[in-house]
Amino acid sequence: MGLLVVLAGLPLRAEAFGETSRLVIAQGRYDGNWNPRPTALRRLAFEIGIRTSISTLPEEKILPLDSAELFRFPFLYLAGTDALPSLSQAELDNLRRYVNYGGFIFCDDAGDGRFAASCEREVARMLPGQSAGRIPSDHVLYKAFYLIDRPAGRTLARPYLSAFMDGSRIAVVISANDLGGAWARDELGSWEYEVVPGGESQREYAFRLGVNLAMYSMCSDYKDDQVHLPFIMKRRR
């Protein structure tokens, strides 16, 4: 596999085209502890930028859930430690429209599982008739860039990710493992939280999952295309 994406020449970076040509993660603001890991997204954006060809802006866009501006940022990060308060009708309508027209939401529980459970409840209200399902381990999300066996975060509270679908596409991913906690790094370059039980290697897997989430949101099922399968099968063995 030495030919792996031939490396020569230096393509330009996307700065000249403004923020919409790059991955800028929107973070949802709501009444409650909406930002438990303030440095997490910046670090994740940085890691995505240096690991992949995705051009990122290491600055998240904080927006209320009923904002029309949300549609310019198709990746929405929602975090919390406590239960998500019941969403207003305007918020539900806005988020439903966001998801239906291609938006992607990642809910990250930085607490004891109440936030994840409340997200499942609110998304079920947003998408009537749907309920959260487990993402199977062979889903393209786990091979969007890195080959990942199981989801890891700051903790391993739950060995799976939950999802809501929009057709065949995952529209909402819910994690109870505090990925933001594993990504958070302070200004001095120190990791803000210890990762348990796996330590630094588990932190690496948390970043890899973050990269795959970003990659999936932008490429959806690209890695399920026929052309990729023989290579991936070989490496999975």
Binding site: V5, G18, Y101, Y146, M218, D225
Partner: protein, 758 residues
């Protein structure tokens, strides 16, 4: 009985009704029976029989008186039955009876002349009626039949001709039988022989049909009898074709059979002809690599001494269509622009999408071993060398070619477009001038060139140009006004590769105020290069027309889908978007059928070109010569109709050129194939066995024309029917029946008295 009358019969002239006569008859019988009963004890047989005889004679005499018998005198005449003589007038009768023999029609005439005296002898009892038959039955003179008829009918329908004769009386005369003189080459109801309904129909005619077989010898000929192939095929998919080839009198031979598409060899097979077999099947398969209507011709060489030369080739029209638009999407890095475009293309059932994304650039450090990544090598050579021609459309989305050493593949893409492919470049920091494409072969095919300034990231509202107002790509609504409105509602876009349009390019959307060289910078431009087309969308934020348009404005993503759907249709030359559309009414024609077509002309803005001058010509595909030409004028709806006289067998192109006030609008074409020959004219085989079967089934006789003999026809004898006058003469008013009655009754009474019975 008098000279006027030549026949007579006994009739009853009694005015009594039949039932009364029957009752009297019964009474007479009862009279005899009673007499017999009264005499049964009489032992003297002489007496008994004498009395019984007298009673019986009395009763008969009484009946005679009551019945009033008479003689009817009749004037009669003999009516001749019809004998129909049917001579085959179909085109196959022009063929020779055997190799280098005389024509079958001449052979039929010779037979009729030879048997003419014997036929003449039948005329006292039969009325001879001569007919010529092909697809219809026509009466002819006997002398004309003997002189030889001009055989040019397009089919042989023996059963139809016999049915038309009618099996029962016509004008009071009965059909006693028929003589059919033919080669038996029937391709209508008796195509499969004397079976099923055809057999029943023949039986129901109930007349003896004698048959005279013309030409039983073997004729040298090689013919492509039929070709079984679908009317349309999918591009890049295998087309199977079965040809039936008939060889007769060719001996042992290897025949090269070649399939050509408008002169170009597509496939070839060798047919091994052996004397023992006459019918062969050859299978051909090929893969059409171009979309359109094409004339294919399957042909074999013409050998010396063949009866028919024109049946050695056969043409057909195949419409090659696209099953799905095979699209190659090459993406320099994941982005929202890529995300929404790929999702839309992937969900479009008319698009077969192959995409390649660069997920890691040379600067990126994934912090993992290769085995932990799902990345695959970027198969540059496979895509841009081997597979490139298999795509209908190639899209470069913010893709930098330099890191992948693609310099020497870029000429392939230029050639691909030149030869009819479609190419799109979307904006981004690695596109157009920013990607250095202006100095490459791709710079030649793009409709825009760099302006020399860097990208512009300010928000702008793309402006619909005059060209864009009616162009199919930018048509979001039917009317120009509604279209303007639809574009006005779309969100403003950030990010633009600043370029300028090349001469000849059509700018459909431009920047509202950013100018380059006095012209507004193009946002969406299209152009033609060689036989292909290209499109430049100089922004990387067209995805705003999807999720942002639907979210912020409360609208939908329909505009985005429509723009791309329109673009793809235009890029791959959807036939419906061609400025000059030529549609033949029928693409496969029989010999003699006129060539008709409708030409639809659109203006450059795709509105109907009413009043446009349209020059239509019919061009021979083989020679390239224009055979016929017709100047037309398009009607108010932009259409014109043309009809050319049949050009004879072969493959032809209908080419149309349209212009308005001398300005060309475009050209279009369609193809037609006129069949080399009908089966009637191409099948040299005679079928004496069919004719023999007809005669055997109907009780007729069979003879070969070469025998010059009239066989025993087994005709129904002619009927004698009464005509003219009749006259009744009574018998009862003579004296003697009453005298017999009185004498018998008196004698019986006397004898009974004497012998003591009363």
């Amino acid at each position: 009985m008098g000279e006027l009358y030549d026949d007579w019969r006994i009739v009853s002239l009694s005015p009594w009704p039949t039932w009364a006569l029957a009752l009297l008859g019964l009474l007479a019988v009862a009279g005899v029976v009673l007499a017999a009963r009264g005499l049964r004890k009489e032992r003297r047989t002489g007496r008994r029989w004498s009395l019984l005889a007298l009673r019986t004679i009395s009763m008969l005499a009484a009946l005679f008186v009551v019945l009033e018998p008479g003689v009817r005198l009749l004037q009669t005449s003999k009516v001749r039955s019809r004998l129909a003589i049917l001579v085959d007038g179909s085109a196959s009768m022009q063929l020779p009876t055997a190799a280098k023999g005389s024509s079958r029609s001449a052979e039929a005439a010779a037979w009729l002349s030879a048997v003419a005296p014997r036929l003449a002898a039948l005329e006292s009892d039969y009325s001879l009626e001569y007919y010529r038959f092909d697809e219809a039955l026509t009466p002819i003179e006997g002398s004309a039949a003997q002189a030889g008829i001009d055989a040019d009918g397009e089919s042989t329908d023996i059963l139809g001709a016999l049915r038309s004769l009618g099996g029962t009386s016509q004008a009071g005369r009965k059909l006693a039988g028929a003589i059919v003189i033919s080669d038996g080459a029937d391709h209508v109801d008796l195509k499969s022989g004397l079976v099923g309904a055809a057999r029943k129909t023949l039986e129901s005619l109930q007349i003896p049909i004698s048959t005279v077989a013309v030409g039983a010898g073997e004729v040298k000929d090689l013919a492509i009898e039929s070709i079984a192939v679908e009317d349309f095929a999918f591009v890049r998919n295998t087309v199977d074709l079965q040809a039936t080839i008939v060889a007769s009198g060719m001996g042992r031979l290897d025949v090269p059979v070649v399939l050509r598409r408008e002169g170009q060899v597509v496939s070839q097979q060798t047919l091994h002809v052996v004397p023992e077999e006459s019918r062969y099947r050859l299978d051909f398969s090929f893969v059409p690599d171009e979309i359109g209507e094409f004339v294919f011709t399957l042909g074999a060489p013409v050998y010396e001494g063949e009866a028919i030369e024109s049946n050695n080739s056969r043409s057909f029209v195949l419409k090659v269509i696209r099953d799905r638009v095979r699209t190659l999407l090459v993406v320099g890095r994941p982005s929202w622009d890529q995300r929404f475009l790929r999702t839309m293309l992937k969900n479009d059932p008319n698009v077969d999408l192959i995409s390649f994304f660069i997920l890691r650039t040379p600067q990126d450090q994934p912090k993992a071993a290769e085995s932990e990544l799902s990345l695959i090598p970027f198969p540059v050579e496979e895509i841009f060398d081997r597979q490139l021609k298999s795509f209908d459309l190639v899209i470069f989305q913010n893709f930098a070619y330099r890191p992948y050493r693609m310099d020497h593949y870029l000429p392939n893409i230029r050639r691909y477009v030149e030869e009819g492919g479609a190419f799109v470049m979307l904006g981004g920091e690695n596109s157009f001038g920013e990607g250095g494409y202006d100095l490459t072969p791709l710079g030649e095919i793009l409709p825009v060139e760099p302006a020399g300034s860097g990208p512009n990231e300010e928000l702008f509202a793309p402006r619909l140009t005059d060209s864009g107002l009616r162009h199919p790509i930018t048509e979001l609504a039917a009317s120009a006004e509604a279209n303007q409105g639809a574009w006005g509602r779309l969100p403003r876009l950030p990010g633009l590769n600043v370029t300028k349009a090349k001469p000849g390019a059509s700018v459909l959307l431009d920047h509202p105020h950013l100018t380059v060289g006095g012209e507004n910078a193009p946002v969406l431009a299209v152009g033609e290069f060689g036989r292909g087309r290209s499109m430049a969308l100089t922004t990387d934020s067209s995805w705003f027309w999807s999720i942002v348009a639907s979210g912020e404005g409360g609208g939908t993503s329909r505009a985005y889908e429509r723009i791309w759907s329109n673009s793809i249709r235009w890029l791959v030359r959807d036939p419906e978007l061609t400025p000059v559309l030529v549609q033949a009414v029928q693409r496969s024609l029989e010999p003699g059928q006129p060539v008709a077509a409708t030409i639809t002309v659109r203006r450059a803005d795709y509105g109907p070109a009413s009043g446009a001058a349209v020059e239509v010509s019919l061009v021979d595909v083989e020679s390239g010569h224009t055979l016929r030409a017709d100047p037309l004028t398009a009607g108010a709806d932009g259409t014109a109709r043309v009809e050319f006289e049949s050009p004879g067998p072969g493959a032809y192109k209908l080419e149309a050129k349209a212009s308005v006030d001398g300005r060309p609008l475009g050209v279009g074409q369609d193809v037609v194939a006129v069949r080399a020959a009908s089966l009637e004219r191409s099948d040299v085989k005679t079928r004496p066995e069919l004719l023999r079967a007809i005669s055997e089934l109907t009780g007729g006789a069979f003879v070969q024309a070469s025998d010059r003999q009239l066989p025993a026809l087994s005709l129904t004898p002619p009927e004698v029917v009464e005509v003219g006058r009749a006259k009744d003469r009574p018998i009862w008013d003579r004296f003697w029946p009453l005298a017999v009655l009185a004498a018998c009754l008196g004698s019986e009474w006397i004898l009974r008295r004497r012998w003591g019975y009363v």
